[in-house]
Symmetry: C2
DNA sequence: GTTAGCACTCCCGCTCTCTGAGTGCTAAAG
DNA sequence: CTTTAGCACTCAGAGAGCGGGAGTGCTAAC
């Protein structure tokens, strides 16, 4: 579906005006504020046409128009300007990524907070799928007589840990076990770890069966619990300044959806992912809870695999800015995770 | 200040009724619902007295009374029943602490969520002060040619990490450095670490100066940034069901206070900490942002030091239940952190 | 095709009123 | 002297009613 120039201009004007004010927009405002060189009456006619083909909606019989999902879609596909970042924003982002002395988890947390701060919507990051990681180091730290902490570092710098039970043993023996595990299980693809571990079981004394078992269980749980701490979301406070969330019920719905239901994951998976950044508007998200929400997101590379980073906000989102922000964060995160190779 | 029996009963009735309904409570309701054996008129007189001595307030000249801060204070000190936990709640808590295969950070996160779920207010945990921790293990994991991940395990099971720059070196050499650091810097009180590290500097080749420097910096930063990830807060969604947070502005104020200002820390430090659990009601918190909030919190022991766990909610809080919950969480967390000694 | 003019619609904010829950006071009863 | 019934009074909150204003669609003229 294509539109003649003037219709396109009217649609653009309605969308941008609505994004800015949040109110239904009428023909007068457009005639006055956007210099299209025609009278309100003409614009009214165009708007009636745009409504007929499904790009605009009315809230009631006689008030201004608001864009429909399809209207927004046409806008983002065809009309949206390619704005850069404001210098304030790029400054904020630069300083976030400047200090490299930061562990992965803190970085991701601070990143979602920064996404939210610059966009005024909700920021989120979905870490890379755990199936694709390998382990760089496996380490056993004694904590008490019969317990030790299993510490694992993945190739992308995540540190996972888990307390396990160990038979009483000397410091040296523990060190030996730790080294053996580390030597034999690191830098393996995950699916091979279990096999290799069972070889160890045969080689080493039966004494260590218990430990190896727990290690394998833990490694498996990292892969299986695919939700294992992969999703970072932040910026509720900023979202509350948006007029669409003046009503607490809305906020509650949104938060419970995000927190528990894995709505974000569902949305990210669905649909053919055309071009980066991806944009999902309102009901395009096939998840009922997200019918009034939009997402703008893209992926960043982490070694051979990738994660997702994006913005979740009301349908009336500043898509142009959101796209610019997501692009920037994709780039920065890719850099962070693939520094010098 | 002490109260004759009937006044105390009236105060208790007002407080409990108000906690339950959230509305100003009138003399009729009390006469009908709480069997005090006197007429509304008598209760009106008692209420007038209670207002005069500052235990009750009115929202406007002619509607029921609500408890003042001092009224709540008298209630929690003298009148509050010592309720146990509902079997539902203790069941939820039990199952949280049953599975021991969980790292510290996940446990703390899930705990604040559970506190919120059972109390319907905000749950928080403030980890032990970092000055008192010692390090159990220091470990260097190579991540690329010139970078490595420094992984540190503290005596209470926290795992901290930080990427550092290293000169190119062989696997064996890295292992050697890692072992040397670990051997020399672990199980020391933090303040001694720097001294010890500088001894190392002299002993080992100048080559490692850079690494040792970064390790010391990081260890120091863990202590100095006293806010370093010590505070866990959770349960915004649950808070939104409370009628006092029907207004988004309130929620916004609260969240920004909690997120950025360190209001909780400020409150926890202030004031003589009489008996455990501590209760701070409304303006008793000398922090302006918390003038309509109450906190119920206590401490749990972590080895030789301690952390704090508590509930943050509106002044109209179910104190009795909050106290029971905090007690339970104190106990469970103490057990978790001091398992078998 | 465009635009001015006009009748019509309907949301929104305003005031006004009414109701009901609650109070304080007074005077009678216990 | 304490308790209670009765009563006048207060005030928040819910509705009803009433413009005003922003907007529309339609028609007729340019």
């Amino acid at each position: 579906m294509t539109l003649d120039d003037r219709k396109a201009e009217v649609l653009r004007a309605v969308v941008e005006e609505h994004i800015e004010t949040g109110l239904p927009v009428g023909s007068r405002v457009i005639a006055r504020r956007y210099r299209l060189g025609v009278s309100p009456a003409t614009i009214r006619n165009e708007m009636a046409d745009l409504e007929e083909i499904g790009y605009l909606d009315k809230t009631h019989t006689s008030s201004g128009r608001i864009p429909s999902d399809r209207g927004y879609r046409f806008y983002v596909d065809e009309l949206m300007p390619n704005r850069g970042l404001s210098s304030d924003d790029s400054h904020i982002i630069e300083s976030l990524f400047r200090s490299r002395v930061k562990d992965v988890v803190s970085l991701l947390k601070e990143t979602v907070r920064t996404i939210s701060e610059t966009s005024r919507y909700l920021g989120f990051i979905l870490g890379p799928e755990s199936e694709t990681v390998t382990y760089k180091s496996i380490h056993l730290v004694p904590t008490s007589r019969e317990r030790a902490l299993l510490v694992i570092v993945t190739d992308i710098g995540f540190v996972e840990s888990c307390p396990i039970e160990v038979p009483p043993m000397s410091r040296e023996e523990m060190q030996h076990v730790s080294d053996t595990l580390s030597r034999n299980l690191t830098n393996l693809a995950v699916e091979k770890v279990a096999d290799r571990a069972y070889e160890l079981l045969r080689e080493e004394a039966h004494r260590y069966a218990r430990i190896v078992g727990q290690v394998v269980d833990f490694l498996n749980s990292l892969v299986t619990d695919s939700e294992h701490e992969r999703l970072y979301v932040g910026g509720t406070v900023n979202l509350l300044s948006q007029p669409e969330f003046r009503d607490v019920e809305r906020v509650k719905d949104l938060l419970s959806a995000v927190e528990s239901e894995g709505v974000i994951q569902a949305v990210l998976i669905k649909g053919d992912q055309d071009k980066d950044p991806f944009i999902r508007i309102g009901r395009e998200n096939e998840v009922a809870a997200a019918k009034d929400l939009s997402l703008v997101f893209g992926s960043f590379s982490v070694g051979r695999t990738e994660g997702k980073v994006g913005i979740l906000g009301p349908r009336r989102m500043d898509y142009s800015k959101a796209v610019a922000l997501v692009r920037q964060f994709e780039m920065k995160l890719s850099q962070y995770f693939s520094p010098d190779e």
